[in-house]
Structures are given as C-alpha cells and as structure tokens.
C-alpha cells in the first residue's frame, strides 16, 4: 500500500509539474511583413496579441526579413537542406519545389477537423493548392495591379482621363515628356517588378488571359516587347538598372505620372509620397493593345503570398502552429490587416465603410474586370525564364536585342 501511495504521489507530482511548468512552445516566423512593409504594424500587433493570450504556452517569434528576394533565396536553400522555418510565407513561383520537397506541414487533417476554419477559404481556393491529397500552402494575400496615375501631371499634359489604348498612351507619354516629367516608372534590376507588371498587362491584352498556355512562339510576346521598347523612350534615364525603390521614388516624388503596383503600396502613397500626392492619385485599368485578344478593363493579379509551415515531429508544436495560423486567418484580423495596409486577402471579410478610396476603386474595377490574368513571373511557370526577363528587357531597351531577339533570349533561358 505504501509503495502504491509513493508511486501515485510520484506520478501525480510528475503530471502536475508537467501541467504547471510545461515548456513554452516557441514558433519561429521569418517574416517579410516587417520594417517598411505596409502590413508590418498590424502583423506585429497580431503576434503580440496572440503571444499575450497564450502567455507561457506558445510564443511566436518574428524574425525580420527585409529583402524579399533574399528571403526567397533563403527559402530555396532551406527546402534543399530540409530545415524549414516553423511558419513562413511562400510565393506561387516556389510552389512546385515546395510540394516536391515533401517538407511542408499538411493542413488537410486540420482543415477537415475544423470545418469552420475550412469554410473561411472561399470556393476552390484550397483545392487549387491541393497536390497528391496534401495542402502545404494556405492561400492568403492576393493582388491586382492596376494603373495608378497622377491626374495633376496628366492634366498639365492636357489629359483629363487615362488613355484606353497603347497608341493613345504613347501619345500621352510624348505630351508628358514635353512638360519635363517622366511618363511611367520602369525598372530592370532584380526581377524588374514594375516593368514585369507592364509586360504582363500588354501580354494579356495582346494574347488573351490564357497567353501562358500558348508558348513563347505566340506573336503576343513579340508585340508586348515592341510596346515595352516604345514605353522606355518615355521613362527615367536611370530606369535600366533601377531597383523597385528607385522606380517607386520617381512616382512618390511626382517625377513620373504613371505607376503600376499592387494594393499593398496604397499606404506608402500616403506615408512616403510628397504632400498632396495621394489626393491626385486615380486608379485605372491598363490600356488595350489594338486588335488584341484581351478584353477592355482586363486586370493582372493573382496570389501573392500563401501561409505555410515546416513539417513537425512534435504534435504539440504542430497544434500551436495551426492555432496561430487560425488566428492570422481569422476574418476580423484579416480585415484589420487589409484596412491598415490596403492589401487584399482571399479570405472574405467585412471591411469598414471608410476603407481607402484607392482600395475600393481597385476592388471594384477588379470585380468588374473580364479577367484577372497572372503576372509573367507566375504565369510563365519557369524560374529560369523569369530570371532572364530583366536582362532580356535591358538588352531590348538598349537596342542590344530586337523584339525577336528578346523573345529568343527568354526561350534560350529555359
């Protein structure tokens, strides 16, 4: 009996100790939504609130990753070595290698277990991320990239509204150049983001939203290259080699009249633009290629970042990760993120009436758009072609390559 009692006390003490002094689960999240990113403030608030509510049990540790490209490169290396972070965001371009790595946390059992959580992801969003019965990526941030123009600068050049065709657009660029301003901000450094968006718009307009299924021999690639070459005649002298910061800087300082970027940039127009800039900004669909297969008002967009997690051996940690992701995808929290940053999310939320006007216009135009075609970066489905694009573009605009050579450079990169 005495031995029974001692054993019972021992087991009880052990369990009690484990319950009371259970080790806090630490979750690492190398995040790109930090520093100057428009979502940084609310993301930090959400992490802090979660940590407070789960004090002593779970702690999410944000690791600042301020360079998007380096973050993606780090992720590729981690996929190869199998040492993935606990939580991370991942772009569509890395989808294939991520699924093949088999190193991700499969969300299917968790989504099946919690039907409420599953129901917040609309329609086919989850199924499109399913491969071999597994879901490693939870769709989260989405985007569209309309044209944003400065109506004051257009007015100075004699234009009240944004041109509907590229022919008119180039005419307008000539008029803007005469006023001493730059027409559109462009760039060729890194992934040539802004110029890549323009190229995607022209491509979809010339060849239709399904252009990426037609292969690089489609004449739309050539046509888009010709128009891009023409557009570079009316951009800044530092466009070749310019980074995203340089390209955006021209627009934020009213040196350029037209810009193209996603909704996450809305907050930066207010906070980093020169006084009065925001009031002059208007959203418009990109112009049309005459005789093109795209529709009027067609948009470019898609999925920006999905939420993902590394495969876990500790079931408690896996549960903690899922708990945090549920918190992050909670419609109220998504609404907070959207409201503060202007970013768009796949999760349907009730947004306040005083939502930013540019966000509202963007959402409305995207809703009315006949199509939302993928960007060249995501649609072409080849990292090597996407990597070659900035170099081919700079060769094109510096007349080192003809539009035909430009397309050939992309083909050779595969």
């Amino acid at each position: 009996m005495r031995y029974c009692f001692i054993s019972f006390m021992f087991i009880f003490t052990f369990m009690f100790n484990n319950l009371l002094f259970a080790k806090e689960i630490s979750i690492s999240w190398p995040s790109i939504w930090v520093a100057k990113d428009s979502k940084a403030k609310v993301i930090r608030q959400l992490v802090n609130e979660f940590n407070q509510a789960n004090s002593g049990k779970i702690k999410v540790v944000l690791e600042d990753q301020t360079d998007y490209d380096l973050y993606a490169q780090k992720l590729v290396a981690q996929l190869a070595t199998g040492k993935l972070p606990d939580i991370f965001t991942i772009g569509t371009d890395l989808r294939d290698i991520f699924y093949r790595s088999n190193k991700g946390l499969d969300f299917v059992p968790h989504l099946d277990y919690d039907s409420n959580w599953k129901s917040i992801f609309p329609g086919n969003a989850l199924n499109s991320n399913k491969k071999d019965g597994k879901i490693y990526m939870l769709p989260y941030e989405i985007f569209v990239t309309p044209v944003i123009y400065n109506k004051k600068l257009l007015k100075n050049a004699g234009y009240e509204s944004f041109p509907k065709s590229y022919k008119e657009f180039i005419k307008m660029c000539k008029a803007i150049k005469k006023t001493g301003k730059i027409c559109s901000s462009q760039m060729t450094n890194k992934n040539a983001w802004t110029s890549m968006l323009w190229y995607s718009q022209i491509l979809a307009s010339a060849g239709g939203p399904d252009i990426y299924n037609k292969g690089l021999d489609d004449p739309a690639y050539l046509k888009a290259a010709e128009i891009m070459r023409e557009m570079y005649n009316y951009t800044s002298s530092d466009a070749v080699g310019a980074t995203a910061a340089v390209s955006a800087g021209h627009f934020l300082n009213e040196r350029s009249a037209v810009f193209m970027n996603g909704p996450w940039f809305i907050k930066r127009y207010k906070t980093e633009g020169i006084p009065g800039l925001y009031d002059n900004l208007v959203i418009a669909p990109a112009p049309m290629v005459e005789g093109g297969k795209g529709g009027i008002g067609g948009y470019i967009g898609g999925r920006q970042s999905s939420l993902a997690a590394g495969k876990q051996t500790d079931k408690n940690k896996e549960k903690a990760i899922v708990k945090f992701l549920k918190w992050l995808t909670k419609p109220d929290n998504v609404a907070r993120l959207s409201y503060d940053s202007g970013a768009m999310f796949i999760i349907k939320t009730e947004l306040p009436d005083d939502m930013d006007r540019l966000f509202k216009d963007m959402s409305k135009q995207a809703g009315d758009a006949p199509y939302v075609a993928p960007t060249f970066l995501n649609g072409i489905n080849s990292l090597s072609i996407a990597r070659e694009f900035p170099q081919a573009l700079s060769a094109l605009v510096l007349d080192d390559a003809s539009p035909k050579d430009f397309v050939q450079m992309l083909k050779d990169a595969k």
Binding site: Q73, V76, A77, L79, A80, I97, R100, S101, T188, N189, K190, S236, S237, D238, A239, V240, G241, A242, L383, S384, R387, P390, Q391, A392, S394, A395, L398, D400, A401
Partner: protein
C-alpha cells in the same frame, strides 16, 4: 631529414585536428561539388546527366561573358590596381609631411562595408542626380547630363572597374609595411653616390619589396576571381548580362535551383583559378625571389 617512426606518430597526431577540419570543410565539399556537377540536382531530386552541364555552360553566352569579365577584373587589378598601390607605397615610404593622413585616407575604404561603398558609388553614378554627371555637365560636357553609367552597355563594365581601381589601400599598406624593413644603409650609400629619390625608389626600394609586390599580385588575382558583391549590388550582372562574373553566375543558377549546373560552373571556376595561380607562380618565379 629522416623522420623517426615514433616522431611520425606525433607528427600525425599534431596534424590530425587541422587535417580533419580541412577534409570536412574543404575536401568533402569539393568532392560533393564535383560529383553533383554531373547531375541535374535541383535540391530535391538528382539524375546523372554526364557532361551535359559542362556542354551547356560552354554553349552559354552569359557564362562565357562572365569568364571574360572576370579576366577584365583580374587584368585591371594586376596591371593597374596593384602597380598603382606600389607607386603610392613608394611615395608614402618617403615619410613626407602628412604621409600618415594620406595612408589613413587611402586605407579607410577597406574598413567600410562593401554594401555601403556600392550604394555610395551607385548614387555618384546615378543619371538623374549623380555627382559625376553634375560635374561633367558643369564643365561643359552636356552629352553626359543624363548618362546612365551603370545602365549603358558601353560604360557599365568600365564604370564598375573604374571605381574599384581607386581602392588600393589594402595592397598599399602591405607594401608600405615591407618598406620599413629595408635597412637605411642602402639609402645612405646611394646618397653618397649622388642618387636622386627616384633612383633610390626604383633601384633600391622596388627590388627589395618585389616579393611583397608579387604576393599582392596573387592576392589581387584571387580577390578578383571571387568578385561578387559589387557586381551583385551595383548591376546584378546587367544590363543585358554584360557585367556578370563567375560567382554571380553560380549564385543565379543556385537561386533557380539548377544546383547541378551551378556546381559545374563552380568546378570550372576552381579549375580556372588553379590554372591561373600555377601560371602566375611560373611567371613570377625568379632566382632572387626571397
């Protein structure tokens, strides 16, 4: 010298720690690099592809251009940067008034991060607000008013090399240190014979620091074979792949998960470097090499 058997055991034991580190962190990675260069490894899967990666590389214009650019970097360092450092070291070795200030000014860039230097020069070269264009415009060269130095094919590579050549402090300090070990007796004797400062520099100092000069040349070649950060930060190999170098090429291949191809480029780079150094050793060998 004949080493006794028991001494050999001790010798082996003393070498063991550094030898094992060398094997783990150098020999094994190189073997791994070599083996994977014959595969299409993408970080997840790998199939043997024979010499395909090497054939692809030698048919790739960007890769060939990268090797050529590396040769430009190496030649400009060996023919301009290190000799320039030698001239400055000789001038400073006279210990003229203010020589310490010049020595410090010339060495400061070595302790500043490459990223800061790259950003500074990008700003100086900028076509819209750069100081270089402003100066050229001010002296009447209006053609350069909005010239994009790093974004024009004809000037991007020279602009990269030009700024780099200014950074002579590292080699200068090594050669300057060597001059302090030269006995004053040589100079006193030369002065008695009526030698001028130039004669003393050319016939006494320069020959006596020759071995250090050769060391600097080898260092210059090695550093420029590995050139990466300035090219990555300032042009990222552009415009039109015209300024890329070998390490940047490898980096870009690894970025898009073509690890097999990237490793093949790495093997070529190692072979290129080894051949270059062997050649240099042969060329720089001299009977008086001390």
């Amino acid at each position: 010298m004949i080493i006794r058997k028991e001494d050999r055991i001790w010798l082996f034991l003393f070498i063991m720690p550094s030898l094992s580190l060398f094997v783990v962190f150098f020999i094994i990675p190189i073997l791994f690099l070599f083996i994977t260069s014959f595969t299409n490894w993408d970080g997840i899967e790998a199939d043997f592809v024979g010499l395909n990666n090497y054939i692809k590389l030698f048919n790739n214009k960007t890769f060939i251009r990268s090797i050529v650019n590396n040769i430009y970097w190496i030649l400009s360092s060996a023919l301009i940067q290190v000799p320039l450092a030698l001239i400055i070291a000789l001038l400073l070795s006279h210990r003229s008034r203010g020589w310490k200030v010049f020595r410090t000014i010339l060495f400061i860039p070595q302790v500043v991060s490459s990223a800061a230097i790259a950003l500074l020069w990008m700003a100086l070269y900028n076509s819209e607000y750069g100081l270089i264009n402003f100066i050229l415009d001010s002296i009447g060269l209006e053609g350069y008013k909005n010239h994009n130095w790093l974004g024009t094919i004809s000037t991007a590579q020279p602009a990269l090399l030009a700024f780099w050549l200014c950074y002579v402090g590292y080699y200068m300090i090594i050669m300057l240190a060597k001059t302090t070990s030269i006995s004053e007796d040589y100079y006193d004797a030369a002065k008695i014979d009526g030698a001028l400062q130039f004669h003393m520099d050319w016939f006494i100092t320069a020959p006596l620091i020759r071995s250090t000069f050769f060391t600097c040349l080898i260092l210059g070649v090695i550093f420029n074979l590995r050139q990466f950060e300035f090219v990555y930060l300032m042009t990222n190999g552009g415009p039109a792949n015209k300024t890329g170098v070998l390490v940047l090429y490898i980096w870009k291949e690894l970025q898009i998960q073509r690890l097999g191809l990237g490793n093949a480029a790495g093997v070529i780079m190692i072979a290129f470097g080894a051949i270059l150094l062997l050649l240099m050793r042969r060329i720089l060998r001299s009977p008086n090499y001390d």
